[in-house]
């Protein structure tokens, strides 16, 4: 990698990779369709069955992968900037666990049926919101554990995140043992991380949450840049540090929550992607945008692999991200200058 290549050039590269991955995701499937037919079906032309397969199954799934992958990576990038700790990730900080609890409680209360099932747009938006409440609860507990004298102690955050994660797992198990058994199995599959719940409603709902979070995070890029110099220096540069941290935490939770509500718990994207991106840029504005693109590429590719590796059987996409992510992460660590 050439660190002197400007960030926008990497953006173009990633955008190209994303388009190629999306195309592969739309063209590959158990029903073999000619590429020309797929492209025609995207525009709504061709025979009804092909149009249904492309527009109701393949397209929502590909777009959900873009949004979930992007959201997880963006959330990871924000958390890492916020905590000044490259190990930060929604999964490790207990945010995903809290979101999973929120989703499960919301679903047990009858919100949005099961992970995106037959959801109208209200239902589709309600489930991620329940996840968000769960994530916020997790964040609050982590915050209480990590605050010292009214300020968030960055070192203690990670530790209390690990504890909250364990707590969330316990609550999930508890809810699963007492919840409606007709949902249990579906939830177990969902918790392993899967994009099988993709519906057009899920895609629309997730884009709303992603857009909202981007709108919160991008203006914070300058604050993140300043935070790398330390909190006191950032304060003297006129950054309202605590406000920036709280906003970023809320946005990162929202992103992770929305992703978890529709795709379950998918690890490594939030950890790996911002790491890779930091090798090519130091600016947080670029870091956030490139992380989104990188996360999207990683998850679209992982889903294509999860669908085709043992076809017709599907494997959990979370297993693929971990299999690709763990070695890649170790390589990145070793290659550190």
């Amino acid at each position: 990698m050439n660190p002197r290549r400007p960030a926008w050039a990497w953006g173009v590269v990633l955008l190209g990779a994303l388009l190629a991955a999306l195309l592969a995701s739309l063209l590959l499937g158990s029903v073999s369709l000619a590429p020309a037919d797929v492209l025609r079906a995207l525009a709504g032309r061709g025979d009804r069955e092909t149009v249904s397969i492309v527009r109701e199954l393949r397209l929502p799934r590909a777009l959900l992968a873009v949004l979930v992958g992007g959201a997880l990576a963006l959330s990871g990038a924000a958390l890492q900037a916020l905590l000044g700790n490259p190990l930060a990730d929604p999964y490790l900080l207990g945010v995903s666990g809290g979101a999973a609890c929120g989703t499960l409680v919301g679903s047990l209360l009858g919100l949005g049926a099961s992970a995106g099932m037959r959801a109208g747009i209200f239902d589709a938006l309600a489930l991620p919101f329940a996840a968000f409440l769960g994530a916020l609860a997790a964040v609050l507990i982590v915050g209480i554990g990590a605050s010292a004298g009214g300020r968030l102690d960055r070192g203690r955050l990670l530790l209390s995140g690990v504890v909250v994660n364990a707590l969330a797992s316990a609550i999930l198990l508890f809810l699963l043992s007492f919840g409606d058994p007709s949902r249990t199995q579906t939830f177990v599959f969902w918790m392993l991380g899967s994009l099988a719940g993709a519906t057009p409603g899920a895609v629309v709902a997730l884009s709303v949450y992603v857009a909202l979070s981007l709108a919160l995070l991008l203006p914070l890029a300058r604050a993140f840049d300043a935070l790398t110099l330390g909190e006191e220096t950032a304060g003297t540069l006129g950054i309202r540090v605590e406000t920036a941290k709280r906003t970023a935490y809320v946005a990162a939770s929202l992103l992770a929550a929305a992703a978890v509500a529709y795709a379950g718990i998918i690890g490594f994207v939030g950890l790996l992607v911002p790491h890779a991106v930091r090798r090519v840029t130091r600016s947080h504005r670029a870091l956030l945008l490139l992380s989104f693109l990188g996360g999207a590429v990683l998850l679209v590719v992982s889903d294509v692999v999860a669908r085709s590796l043992f076809a017709p059987a599907e494997i959990a996409v979370g297993a693929i991200t971990a299999l690709l992510g763990a070695p890649a992460f170790l390589l990145l660590l070793r290659a550190r200058p």
Partner: protein
């Protein structure tokens, strides 16, 4: 241990090997049932009967079951050829492969299983895969635990891409008959063999 059983019957499928070894180490008589086909289930009957010291009744039961199986198979063969899938869970779809006792019952009832052997025993598949297999019939177990899940799932637009579901060609069998590798599996076979599909 406090229940002092004369015999412990353990299903191999879904049981931790260590738990079974522990039972044996405790000196309890253990029989492991491992039937993955109808014939395997009959062998299990013989082994359980033997462990209970009642070989004769086991042999009688197996003889009766064998006659019923033969009759059901004849009935299934008399029907025009149809392709079927046994849908074990609807969301995400999980189906019975050819190497399972459910798959065996399906094929002996005269259906060809749309799930290729290479897919494994209980593969999780996509809606698109199910649509491409396009089975003539969907067979599903009915239990108190899964009724809600099936009702919600089949109302989902994506299931309408599977013509058998869209057109209501769904055969519902009690889960205790279809999903338990025991003698009642023969009743599942009989009911499936009697199914007539337009």
């Amino acid at each position: 241990m406090s229940l002092a059983p004369d015999l412990v019957v353990v299903s191999k499928d879904g049981t931790d090997r260590a738990a079974f070894e522990k039972l044996e180490a405790l000196g309890l008589p253990v029989v492991v049932t491992a039937g993955t086909t109808l014939d395997g289930v009959l062998e299990d009957v013989i082994r359980v009967g033997h462990a209970l010291g009642d070989d004769e009744r086991a042999a009688d039961l197996v003889a009766a079951l064998t006659r019923r199986i033969a009759a059901a198979e004849a009935l299934g063969r008399a029907r025009p050829h149809r392709r079927a899938v046994a849908l074990i869970w609807p969301d995400p779809p999980v189906v019975a492969g050819a190497g399972t006792f459910v798959g065996d019952v399906l094929s002996r009832a005269g259906f060809s299983n749309v799930v290729p052997r290479s897919a494994g025993d209980w593969p999780r598949v996509s809606f698109e895969t199910l649509a491409s297999w396009n089975p003539d019939v969907v067979v599903r177990p009915d239990t108190p635990e899964n009724a809600g899940a099936f009702a919600r799932a089949f109302a989902d637009a994506r299931w309408r891409l599977v013509p058998a579901v869209k057109e209501g060609r769904v055969v519902v069998l009690p889960g205790d008959l279809l999903e338990r590798p025991g003698p009642r599996l023969v009743e599942a076979l009989e009911r499936l063999a009697a199914v007539r599909v337009p």
